[in-house]
């Protein structure tokens, strides 16, 4: 009989060690709350990451291009602002504001032959392209403004003739998302209607 009594006591202890339905429900609810909060945090973090990545990647090639043009302008001997159409660069005529979709850079004093580099904005494909030795290369995407380049004087006035000491101002306007999944605000269409990259560069060797 002792054996039976011990067995029943053991059974009773096993019963006490388990969870009740109420305990399970409460723990499940707490677990669900914690997991929900963690997942919400992860989604929030991913959204912020996507937003930042969109901002940076949309203009990354533009920043690289601005840096490249800046280096070439600082070291060049001559630079003209003009219009580039049908694979031809035309300098802005004297008397007209020196602003256009292209610049022509001469790295040396020689201004004949193909001794130049042209950067221009392609309005059809909304790209910034570089032409050197007749080879065209796309260097930046999603640039939508046509007049990307203008020549100014040291006071910021747009020049109307060619001068030896111009400040070349470059402006790139971006209005297209690289990743359209990045919604910003309540309206994902043209959420950012104001997005520029600008810089000014002066040649170092004027004479």
């Amino acid at each position: 009989m002792k054996t039976t009594t011990a067995s029943m006591r053991k059974s009773s202890r096993r019963h006490r060690a388990g969870f009740t339905l109420a305990e399970l429900l409460v723990s499940t609810m707490v677990f669900t709350l914690i997991m929900g909060a963690m997942i919400s945090l992860q989604i929030f973090g991913l959204r912020i990451y996507t937003l930042a990545a969109t901002k940076l990647l949309a203009s990354q090639s533009g920043r690289l291009t601005l840096g490249d043009i800046r280096d070439k302008l600082r070291s060049c001997k001559t630079v003209y602002v003009g219009i580039y159409t049908n694979s031809q660069f035309s300098q802005i005529a004297t008397g007209s504001p020196q602003m256009g979709n292209a610049i022509q850079i001469f790295p040396t004093l020689t201004t004949t032959g193909s001794n130049y580099i042209v950067f221009y904005e392609d309005p059809v494909n909304t790209n910034i392209c570089m032409v050197t030795n007749g080879v065209r290369t796309v260097t930046a995407n999603f640039v939508t403004n046509y007049y990307c380049f203008q020549a100014e004087d040291y006071q910021g006035n747009v020049l109307t003739n060619y001068q030896n000491n111009p400040v070349i101002k470059m402006t790139m306007s971006f209005v297209q998302w690289e990743y359209p999944i990045a919604y910003v605000g309540g309206n994902s269409i043209n959420a950012y209607d104001f997005y520029y990259l600008r810089t000014r560069v002066t040649r170092r060797s004027k004479f």
Binding site: S12, K55, E152, Y154, N165, D193, L197
Partner: protein
């Protein structure tokens, strides 16, 4: 045969959490969660500050480049007008000329179009020219941009300094 199957009151009370235990758990949970959220918010804030600072630095550089474009050719003959400095002369931007501060908006993504009354995205640039040395002639172009970080209201300055010699 006597069976003792009664569950003791003490064992029953030990199987549950006390209110104090639950409060401690909730406190710890709140601290961990608020730490995580604060980390996300702080990372976003620093990223925004970096973007603004980079844009302001670019604007300071533009002011310095613009001043760098001014002619300074002291060895040229004196022009017939007699003016030795000022626009169109051989020394267009001498240290004696006070340059008007330029105000413009930052090149950062912003919702909507900034207005002149919204100073969250605006930057002020002041360029100063000073003589570093008379012989040999050397000038310093000091371009300072001041701006306000909108999330804290604190003011910051970014500076670009260039040295230039004449006839170049």
């Amino acid at each position: 045969m006597v069976l003792y199957l009664r569950q003791s009151a003490l064992a029953k009370s030990e199987s549950a959490f006390t209110l104090a235990e639950l409060m401690v758990v909730f406190l710890l949970l709140s601290m961990v969660m608020s730490g995580l959220i604060y980390g996300y918010v702080q990372a976003n804030r620093v990223a925004q500050w970096s973007a603004m600072s980079l844009a302001v630095q670019s604007y300071a550089s533009q002011g310095a480049e613009q001043a760098r474009a001014a002619d300074w050719r002291p060895r040229d003959p004196t022009p017939t007008s007699g003016a030795t400095n000022g626009p169109g002369t051989r020394d267009e931007l001498p240290p004696t000329i006070a340059i008007t501060p330029q105000v413009n908006f930052m090149d950062i993504p912003a919702q909507g179009n900034p207005t002149s009354t919204d100073f969250s995205f605006w930057v002020t640039n002041q360029v100063t020219i000073t003589d570093v040395s008379i012989n040999p002639p050397l000038r310093q172009i000091y371009s300072v941009c001041t701006w306000t970080f909108p999330l804290t209201g604190l003011q910051f300055t970014n500076t670009v300094v260039l040295l230039r010699a004449p006839d170049q």
